[in-house]
Structure formats: C-alpha cells, structure tokens
C-alpha cells in the first residue's frame, strides 16, 4: 500500500506550512515506536496511570434479556479520564515530549479527548490549549471546567457550525501559526498521514487485550465486534487486531441523529460521498459542490462530517459493516445499560449498545458479541435528562 494510504483513502492534503511538521512527526514516530525506552515508558503509563488492561466484562443480565449471543463489554469507560481517548493521548504526548515539544494543542468534541489531553499534559509538564466548538462547550460545560482544572486553556470556537469540525479547523490554523514547539494531539484516526496510523497504533491495545481476554474466558474468539464510529478511533482500536480473522464481523455504528432520511445526521459512511477534507481523502457529508455539510447528533463525540480513512477502506473492501443508529435508539440504550447492568455508558458508546441490542437476539446462544464501551456516561447525564424533558443543568 502507498505510504499513508488505505486504498484510495488517506493522504496528506494540508497546507505547505504544515508539511514539514507532519514529516517530522512521521520520522519521530518511526524512530520511537520500536524504541525500548519509549515503549517501556508508555506501557508503564498505560498500566499504572491509565489503569490498563481494561476489563472485558461478561454482561450476563443483558445476555439473558436479549436471548441470543453472549454479550461482552470492553470497559474502556473504566480507564483514567473515563474513555479510550487516554490510550492515544498518553502515546502522543509522550511522543511529543521525546520530540522536544513543550506545548500541545488539541480539538475536542464531547470534551473527552480534551480532558485526556489536558490530563497527559499536566502529567508530563506540557503547556496545553484545547479548541472546542461553542455548541459543545455549552452542552458539555462540565468537561470545559475539568480541562481548566487540569491547567489547560480552552478556546471557544465560534466559527462555522461551532462543533467538532470547526474545532479541528481552528486547531489546524493554530498549528500552522506555531509548529516549532507545538504538537497537535489529533484525537481520532483521521487527519493527514501519519495521524490515522499513529492513533490506530496507540488504540489497537483495545483489540489486542480483547483477544487475550476472550481466549482466557471462552477459549475462542468472538463472532462479532461492535463499536461506535465518529472519526473512528475506538472502533479501529477494537477492530484492528481482528482484521485478518475474516470470519469475525466488524460493525461500526454511526450517528443517525434524527434519521438518515433527514438532514440531521452524522452518518458519514451511510449517507456521505468521497471527498478530501481535514488532510485526508475519505467519506464526508457534503453537498454536490463539495461544501461540507452541517451534521447533527445528540452525541458531541460523533457529531463530525467525516470518518477516518481506514474505516472508509474497510467499508470499500467490505471487511467491516457500518450501520446507523438514531438519537432515540442511543438514548434508549443509554437508559437500558444503566438499568440492566448498572453501567452508564457515554452517549457515543450507547450507539454501539443500541445496535448490540438488535444484533444479539439474531445470533445463536453459543456465539459471542463484544461491544466496545468506549466511555462512561457521567458527562451526558444532564443532556439525557433534557432529552427526556427534565430540565437540569450542570
């Protein structure tokens, strides 16, 4: 495969101002990824600071209730900072430190990636600035305060649709102003090469652990893996180690918002077309003239008009399936998992839980379904209450 390409997808479509920054990053990553000292330091952080490995939990009540496949939950919600984002962030901020950078910047949607970046920056003594759309700072006010508490400066982005895509725009602009001492900690498997590869490599620990854990618990591999997909980092993290196991179904759940037949959705692979944006060729929600469409999801973390290039490729080749889950289905799954297993999932992860509720009953009792529970739902409680007409604010 051509460097930085996943089939036709991927690439490095960024201004010349940033080209040497991504080349420098690629060189540093290639040098350090197999470096014993770097690997040891990262593994130690993942184990002792982030709390890895995360449990693979057999959801017995959910399994009984759904009456089909055995359902396992990969508990990324139990990581430090409450989501899978910490895996990538510890890797990238450590990489930045080895590169001699003293400042990190990042975009965030729901705030999970911003919180994780601010956390890693505090830990490793780096200056940290986070860009977040105004719509998201409003609906995730608690995470904004959390980032400030961790010592980060939060920039409220008021350009464009004031959500995740605009936060990425502003972070790219800031990086082009100041790349010498600054690393852009991209939060998902997207953007220009080498980001989709670096982020996937730092997230693949999720699937690698699942393989080991399920073999210990069941003595066999699962039949299907389900994860939510915005940019797609937790999904690629779960899927990657199983791509060569051809008979395991890989299913990504996109945000259908109010429905894929409405213009209020963020189901990029389901409703989008091939385009070039944010440094990569991939699928995007856009109009016939290539103007990026305003997208919508109840979940700030899935509210993004594009998808990582490796997912686009897995879709093109048919290796992975992508389905769309509506706001309503996700909210019901949010409540369902809270009641049946005592686990409040992130509203992003609830999209995967919602599809698992449909899929498990269609599978045999001897089959195994692993659901990526990418984050915890504390941050979403107020928004879900509002969705249900209960007027509480954080």
């Amino acid at each position: 495969m051509v460097k930085g390409r996943f089939g036709i997808h991927g690439g490095q479509y960024i201004p010349e101002t940033l080209m040497n920054a991504v080349i420098e990053l690629e060189e540093a990553y290639n040098r350090l990824k197999d470096d014993a000292e770097f690997k040891e330091e990262l593994n130690s952080l993942l184990m002792n600071y982030a709390g890895r490995p995360s449990p693979l939990y057999y959801a017995k009540k959910m399994t009984q209730d759904l009456g089909g496949a055995k359902v396992y939950l990969k508990r990324e919600d139990l990581n430090h900072t409450g989501s899978h984002k910490i895996n990538n962030v510890l890797g990238q901020v450590l990489l930045a430190k080895y590169m001699g950078k003293t400042r990190v910047i990042a975009e965030t949607g729901a705030g999970q990636h911003g919180v994780a970046t601010a956390t890693a920056a505090a830990l490793m003594g780096m200056e940290c600035e986070i860009f977040m759309g105004k719509e998201d700072t409003d609906r995730q006010a608690l995470n904004v305060f959390r980032m400030k508490l961790l010592g980060a400066k939060v920039h409220v982005v008021t350009s464009g649709t004031q959500t995740l895509k605009d936060a990425v725009n502003e972070t790219l602009r800031e990086w082009s102003r100041r790349a010498d001492d600054t690393h852009y900690v991209l939060g998902s498997v997207m953007g220009p090469h080498p980001f989709p590869t670096i982020v996937r490599d730092f997230q693949k620990v999720i699937g690698c652990e699942v393989r080991k854990q399920i073999l210990e618990m069941e003595g066999r591999l699962p039949d299907a893996l389900v994860a939510c997909v915005g940019g797609g980092s937790n999904a690629i993290g779960l899927f990657y180690d199983f791509i060569e196991d051809r008979d395991i179904r890989l299913i990504g759940c996109e945000a259908a918002g109010h429905g894929i037949d409405t213009d209020k959705n963020a189901a990029t692979i389901t409703t989008g077309t091939v385009g070039i944006f944010h440094g990569m060729k991939s699928y995007f929600c856009q109009d016939e003239y290539g103007q990026i469409a305003p997208v919508y999801s109840i979940s700030a973390g899935l509210d993004y008009p594009g998808v990582g290039p490796e997912h686009a490729y897995l879709h093109d080749t048919g290796r992975a399936e992508y389905v769309a889950v509506t706001d309503n289905e996700a909210v019901e799954a949010f409540e369902y998992l809270s009641r049946i297993e005592g686990i409040i999932p992130a509203i992003e992860s609830a999209h995967a839980v919602a599809y698992a509720r449909k899929l498990a009953p269609t599978m045999g009792k001897e089959q195994i379904l692993v659901v990526g529970l990418s984050g915890r739902g504390d941050k979403d409680v107020a928004a879900i209450a509002r969705y249900r007409g209960v007027d509480i604010y954080e």
Binding site: Y13, E16, R173, G290
Partner: protein, 258 residues
C-alpha cells in the same frame, strides 16, 4: 505560453485577492474589471469553501457571505466567461481541493480552460498530492501554482524545480490576515527559489500597506493582497468598488517602478 506570464511584464506585479460572490457575483464581476483597469496584474479569485483552514477570520467571513449568497462553482465559471469578453487580465482561482475533487477534477480544469481561467491555487494540495489535479492542468494548459512557506526549508528546491507560472511565497507562519511585521524569511525563500528556477515569486499573507509592498518587491516579483481588500469589501458591501479600485491603484503605483 500561459497568460500568467503577462502578469510579470509591467514592473512589479500587484495581485489582489477577492472571494467570488462576496457580496454578490455582480459586484465581483465589476471588481475584477475595474481592478484590472486600476493596474492589477493578476487577479486571484477565491471560490468559497465551507471550511477554509488556511484562512484567517477576514477571509473566512468572505467565504460565509459568498456561500450564503448562493454562489456556486458553475456561476463563477459563467462570470469569468463574461469577464473574458471584455478583459484579458490573468486570472487564477484560489480554492480548496474538495470543491475541485467533488466537481470532478478533469471537468473542473476543462471548464477553467473554456472559461478563460489561467491558473489554480489550492492551499491544501501540497507537492506530494498534486497528482490529484496536475495531469489535467498539464492537459489543458492551466498553471497549478506552487506555494512555499517559511517552514518549507529543505522542500523549496524540490517544489521550485517543478513550479509553473509563479511561486506563491507565504510570508510568515499561520493563516491569511493583515500583519504589522513581516519577517525576513521571505527574502531567503525567494533567493533560494531563484537558484533553481527563474520563475516569478509573489509574496502573500500579511501584506496590506504600500510600505510593506515596497519592502517585499525589493526582492520579490510581486505581492498578493487578500485580507486588506476583503476588509474593504466587507465594510462597504455593494458600494465597495470605488474604494477597492482606489486601494489597488495606490498599491500598484507604490511598486510599479520598483
């Protein structure tokens, strides 16, 4: 020979940028014709994009105004055809790669040729990815303009060797927008380019005053001014034409005899 070469035959070149459709396609048409008359040597016409990541706030605003006014790539092609009945000023489109890609790169470049567009500037299409568009530019004789930045350093020779038309030298780090001080990095870039390719170099990003333009054209072949003009368009709206014309005349006069 591409029409772009003519931009550098009347002293130092003044290259104004405006966003097509801001505030309306009719005003854009008048601006092009009258800026050409006032001495503009090449006109950079922005095709608006929803997410212009290389632009500062001023040109972001122009993109939003133009798009909400309903301008499309097709309407811009039609406008250039109308302009070409009256005026031969070299014209380069400035847009992002996605509008070109989604329109169909070959169809887009063929339409450029048919409408009379001479060049294309795509800030998010770096050297490594130019294969996306370049074959069609070669086929239809459109110059794909190369950009270099202060961070380009070891890449400048590689880029300059294959450059066509002119080289767009980004004066300083960051996005477009008026700046008070422009560093000396621009001079070094231009000097390096000239060692590998005898191609005109125009400086853009941050230039707004006649004094800056004079300073830049001591070593460069022209200056590109965007945000300063777009600010005038923003301020005066559909009344902007005489104010823009006056600005263009002042800038061209300042550098003409450099």
């Amino acid at each position: 020979m591409n029409n772009i070469n003519n931009a550098f035959t009347n002293g130092k070149a003044f290259i104004p940028f405006i966003t097509a459709g801001d505030p309306s396609i009719e005003i854009t048409e008048q601006l092009v014709l009258q800026m050409a008359e006032a001495g503009a040597d090449l006109i950079e016409l922005g095709i608006p994009f929803s997410d212009p990541v290389a632009e500062g706030e001023v040109i972001q605003g122009a993109n939003i105004r133009a798009l909400s006014g309903g301008v499309t790539v097709d309407r811009i092609f039609e406008m250039v055809k109308r302009i070409r009945c009256k005026c031969t000023v070299p014209i380069a489109f400035m847009t992002y790669v996605n509008p070109v890609f989604c329109y169909g790169p070959e169809k887009f470049i063929r339409n450029c040729k048919e409408a009379g567009v001479d060049g294309l500037i795509i800030p998010d299409l770096p050297y490594e990815e130019k294969g996306e568009i370049m074959p069609f530019c070669t086929k239809y004789g459109i110059n794909l303009i190369s950009m270099i930045a202060p961070t380009s350093k070891n890449r400048i020779r590689m880029i300059a060797k294959e450059a066509k038309g002119f080289i767009y030298c980004v004066s300083s780090m960051g996005v477009t927008g008026v700046r008070e001080n422009i560093g000396d990095e621009a001079r070094e870039m231009v000097e390096l380019v000239k060692t590998v390719n005898d191609i005109p170099c125009a400086i853009g990003f941050g230039v707004s005053t006649p004094e800056q333009a004079v300073k830049m054209t001591k070593f460069a072949d022209g200056v590109i001014v965007g945000s300063a003009i777009v600010k005038i368009v923003e301020k005066y709206g559909s009344e902007c034409v005489p104010y823009v014309v006056e600005y263009v005349r002042t800038m061209k006069n300042a550098i003409k005899t450099m």
